[in-house]
């Protein structure tokens, strides 16, 4: 498991290569990159700043990955989330999951993103032509996370 919170950009190819380097038991690697868009809630976004809760963030991300490992037989997981000021087109978050078969890698990467969106203490503030605004939590993210609650 590799979990990082950093200002710097990450390198998707390098992270996937590091995970699979020298291994011959991995059959599937699912990855997700979330990027800053130039548009949100119908208005232009010129930049955004990501704030987080140092200390809790790393714990929350580790807890998400632990839960994914409890649900699926995964071989390795990397989560990197950036903080600080980002421009449209900049990558924000990376999730990489390796497993023997593709079903687990797909499910776990989507699960981690859905839970990250509702449980990891990051907050986005957007700069628009109308000024700054804090991004509001989305009902659709709560709904996405709720899909994973086991009966």
């Amino acid at each position: 498991m590799k979990i990082l919170v950093q200002r710097e950009a990450f390198d998707l190819g390098a992270e996937v290569a590091a995970m699979s380097q020298g291994r011959t038991d991995i059959g599937a690697v699912a990855s997700f990159v979330g990027l800053a868009r130039d548009m949100n809630e119908g208005s232009g976004v010129q930049a955004m700043t990501l704030e987080h809760y140092p200390g809790m963030t790393e714990k929350a991300l580790a807890a998400l990955v632990d839960e994914a490992n409890a649900r699926w037989p995964l071989l390795d997981t990397t989560v990197i989330h950036r903080i600080g000021r980002l421009l449209p087109g900049d990558p924000i978050v990376l999730v990489v999951v390796a497993s023997q078969h593709r079903g687990e890698a797909f499910a776990a990467s989507e699960f981690i993103m859905d839970y990250l969106k509702t449980r990891a203490p990051f907050w986005k503030k957007e700069e628009t032509l109308q000024g700054e605004r804090w991004v509001e939590a989305r009902a659709s993210d709560d709904a996405a996370a709720a899909r994973w609650i086991e009966p």
Binding site: I92, P121, F122, W123, K124, A137
Partner: protein, 83 residues
């Protein structure tokens, strides 16, 4: 008991404080929220029932009935929006 309370994002900005140390005679997260609401103004407004905020105790999100342990690090923040 003494509590260390952290505020993040929109709440940090609206309250004008990132961190404070306060005397707390209650037991639960709900008691603390009540104490902060009693300050009136933006505190009463942002922490009103029906407003969406989260409380974390020692860096884990809890429900309002959670009892605070001694020397706890408490954080109050809006619903998260990362990713």
């Amino acid at each position: 008991m003494k509590l260390r309370v952290l505020y993040f994002a929109r709440l940090r900005e609206r309250f004008g404080v990132a961190e404070e140390s306060l005397d707390f005679s209650g037991a639960t997260a709900a008691d603390l929220i009540g104490q902060l609401q009693a300050r009136g103004g933006v505190w009463a407004e942002e922490l009103a029932s029906g407003r969406a905020f989260r409380v974390a105790v020692n860096q884990e999100i809890v429900t309002l009935d959670a009892v605070f342990p001694e020397h706890a690090e408490i954080a109050i923040f809006p619903p998260v929006t990362g990713g």
